[in-house]
């Protein structure tokens, strides 16, 4: 137990970044659950696969001098890699649905669940055997700065940008200390995540396809009778979820500097928890759940104990479920007919 009030702003930033990644992954769980009432345990591997596809494209595209020559090129390098990886992961998601889940759609609910676990193990081991069992460095080719709000030597507020080897005391004088810092990567993750969440939310609530998705979620058979192509809607769902997961995977690779064949496991479980916390099946709930869980973890490990941070996060989950069984934003009646 250690409470230092000065750490609070920084811990919130740490939590926000972590929460953003959880939210992106949680969307995949909640979308699939909303439509198929199925927990897609292979989703954590979409996160992993996305990171590997991202690295693949980064390596391919870095060979073109166009992408490495200028600042615009670097932004495009990462932008294009993320988009291509998201598309590839989305296609992988659609294929998994086609071959591992669709044949079991009318089977008892346990069957697709087991199939999902099988797909997850298969993908992990495929990467383990074909790529490597080791951590692979994930390159960040642009300079990372710390955007720092601080008190300078005389105690007044100041803002400064620190490079990788700058010291805050050199910039702001002896006795200066940071109040809160955002790194380039943290800003990128938080901003892109919020934009994606907004776009997806708009897509589902305002477009015709989104309407069809909501109809399918409400009642699959009736939606089919009303002329909605159920298989197409499900395929789209299985494209969007993994694509979002892929973006999170690439962010994770850039943020932590490494990717590994089993990197999806822990974030997968945490994000599933986030989806349940927010109310599984509810899009905004997954987003909220992701951020709440990320914050809870950062605050718990910063102020209470790193060893117990998961315990604390799950106690929060249990408390929420006791008082709101459907999750924070879930409907109180979860039973669907």
């Amino acid at each position: 137990m250690h409470f230092n009030i000065a750490d609070v702003p920084q811990q919130l930033v740490n939590g926000l970044t972590l929460g953003g990644m959880y939210a992106l992954i949680a969307l995949g769980y909640t979308l699939v659950y909303g439509i198929l009432l199925m927990i897609n345990f292979a989703h954590s591997e979409m996160f992993m696969a996305g990171a590997y596809f991202g690295l693949l494209w980064l390596n391919i595209l870095s060979k073109q001098s166009f992408f490495t020559g200028s600042a615009v090129g670097l932004v495009l390098l990462y932008g294009v890699s993320i988009v291509l990886s998201a598309i590839m992961t989305g296609i992988l998601g659609v294929l998994i649905e086609r071959f591992a889940y669709r044949p079991l759609r009318h089977a008892p609910r346990l069957a697709p669940l087991i199939s999902a676990i099988g797909v997850s193990l298969f993908l992990q081991n495929a990467v383990l055997l074909w790529v490597s069992s080791r951590s692979i460095p994930f390159p960040v080719k642009f300079p990372v700065y710390q955007y720092t709000l601080a008190r300078d030597g005389s105690g007044s507020l100041a803002f400064t940008v620190l490079g990788a080897s700058d010291k805050i005391v050199d910039k702001l004088g002896q006795g200066a200390h940071a109040i809160v810092q955002f790194s380039t990567l943290q800003i990128m993750i938080i901003v892109v995540t919020l934009v994606l969440l907004f776009v997806l939310d708009t897509f589902v609530s305002r477009t015709k396809l989104g309407k069809a998705m909501r109809a399918t979620a409400q009642d699959r058979d009736t939606a089919g009778l009303m002329g909605v192509d159920i298989n197409r809607i499900i395929a789209i769902t299985f494209f969007i979820g993994p694509a979002m997961g892929a973006v999170a995977g690439i962010f994770s690779g850039m943020y932590y500097g490494n990717i590994k064949y089993n990197m999806g496991f822990i974030p997968g479980i945490k994000s599933f928890t986030a989806a349940v916390l927010g109310g599984i099946g509810n899009l905004r709930g997954a987003m909220l759940g992701g951020f709440v869980l990320g914050m809870a973890e950062a605050l718990a490990s910063g102020f209470i104990s790193t060893a117990y941070k998961d315990v604390i996060a799950f106690v929060i989950l249990i408390l929420v479920l006791i008082f709101r069984p459907g999750g924070l934003l879930g409907e109180s009646v979860v039973e669907k007919v």
């Binding site: 069992s133 620190l162 010291k167 500097g257 089993n262």
Partner: protein, 401 residues
């Protein structure tokens, strides 16, 4: 649909087979052309993590043992006795449950007369009970938690020194060489990491230093930013981490990125190039790892080992425990020779032969790559050398004043 299911099953079966083949893909020498004597094949089990987070160190153990087994089979003395030694390579994935399963796999093969193994103390300790039950010798090249040899098992040995020695060496080092007065101590909630960090903290405090925080992290975690933020507020002179390189590398990276530019120090679990790769060379610069034994170049037969290793495994790094695995294997080979001479090669794989091998190992007096190998009454090595390494220019080099 039934067809596609059968196809999936076939693919799964093939995948499983591929795993098994990959696991056993070591060397199967075809020696044993002992003229008049009947050829006998015995096996030495080599068990360490070949996959997973610490595979770099585990595969190093496999390489060291493979080299020793190959050399043993080329030894004319062993050929005269009509003995061929085969390695039985098992992956424990650094996971205690898998380790115990692997131990059972080894002990259920009657030809296995000795085991070189387990990297992690958390694996060695539960598995040692299995070897004890089966009455075969176990020599760990790398498990440093004191408890391993204090269970009263007469068949358990190690060629590396223990955390008590390593932790107190590190405590002294931090005070004397780094001039640290305050430290943030972190460990990874494993017997190895916690034990080492506790020993370090004890010695550091005994020497007048102050431990400003003591945290435990969980294996496979990636995000230590919250912990780093907390430690940053306490302004320690250094961080000590008891654990392996995966988490250690991430902590080093994340602390320096956050502007906490103090050296991270740890034990033998950090002493691999992978630590630097994960942290990034710029972040790892100045970080320190202690490791058991002397640097390869200073080990009595280090150069010979290096030459043989590079010939056998071109392009592969020599990791922290390769020479220890080599020596551990050779100690068993020597014991096999001795017992074969006394009892006859055909008795090796019998319970009496296995017991005789244990007794022979206990009396080992062998000039290994790492120096003189001999065991005390607990089965711990009498070689207590520890070396500190510092990251300079993206590589670990022995620390010099």
């Amino acid at each position: 649909m039934a067809r596609s299911k059968r196809f999936v099953a076939l693919v799964a079966a093939l995948a499983a087979l591929a795993l098994v083949v990959a696991g056993c893909g070591g060397k199967t020498s075809t020696g044993g052309t002992g003229g008049e004597k009947q050829a006998v094949t015995v096996k030495i089990g080599v068990i360490s993590p070949y996959t997973g987070d610490v595979a770099a160190l585990g595969l190093g153990i496999k390489n060291g043992a493979t080299l020793a087994i190959d050399e043993a089979n080329a030894d004319p003395e062993l050929k005269d006795l009509g003995i061929t030694i085969e390695g039985m390579f098992v992956d424990d994935a650094a996971d205690p449950k898998t380790a115990v399963n692997g131990a059972t796999q080894l002990t259920s093969d009657p030809k296995v007369v000795g085991v070189v193994g387990h990297l992690n103390s958390g694996c060695s300790i539960p598995a040692s009970a299995k070897y004890n039950e089966a009455g075969i010798v176990q020599i760990s090249p790398a498990s440093t938690n004191p408890k391993l040899t204090q269970q009263g098992f007469k068949n358990v040995f190690r060629v590396c020194t223990i955390d008590t020695v390593q932790g107190s060496f590190a405590g002294d080092f931090a005070v004397d060489k780094l001039g640290a007065k305050t430290v943030a101590v972190i460990s990874d909630s494993t017997p190895y990491g916690d034990g080492l960090a506790d020993e370090f903290a004890k010695q550091f405090e005994a020497r007048g230093g102050k431990v400003v925080s003591r945290d435990k992290i969980q294996l496979k975690d990636q995000d230590f930013k919250a912990l780093v933020t907390k430690i940053q507020g306490l302004k320690p002179d250094m961080i000590y981490f008891g654990g392996m390189y995966t988490e250690g590398g991430l902590i080093s990276k994340q602390s320096k990125e956050a502007g906490l530019r103090v050296p991270l120090m740890g034990g033998d679990g950090l002493y691999t190039q992978q630590f630097i790769d994960i942290a990034g060379a710029a972040n790892a610069e100045g970080d320190i790892a202690t490791s058991v034994g002397l640097p390869l170049d200073m080990q009595p037969k280090g150069q010979e080992f290096k030459a043989a290793f590079e010939k056998k495994f071109p392009g592969t790094n020599i990791e922290a425990y390769d020479t220890y695995a080599y020596d551990a294997t050779m100690v068993i080979v020597e014991a096999i020779k001795k017992v074969a001479k006394e009892m006859g090669a055909d008795k090796l794989a019998t319970p009496a032969g296995k017991q005789a091998i244990i007794d022979a190992v206990a009396k080992t007096d062998y000039d290994g790559v790492t120096g003189k190998v001999a065991f005390d009454e607990f089965g711990d090595t009498t070689n207590k050398a520890i070396t500190a390494y510092i990251v300079k220019g993206g590589k670990f080099v022995p620390y010099e004043q």
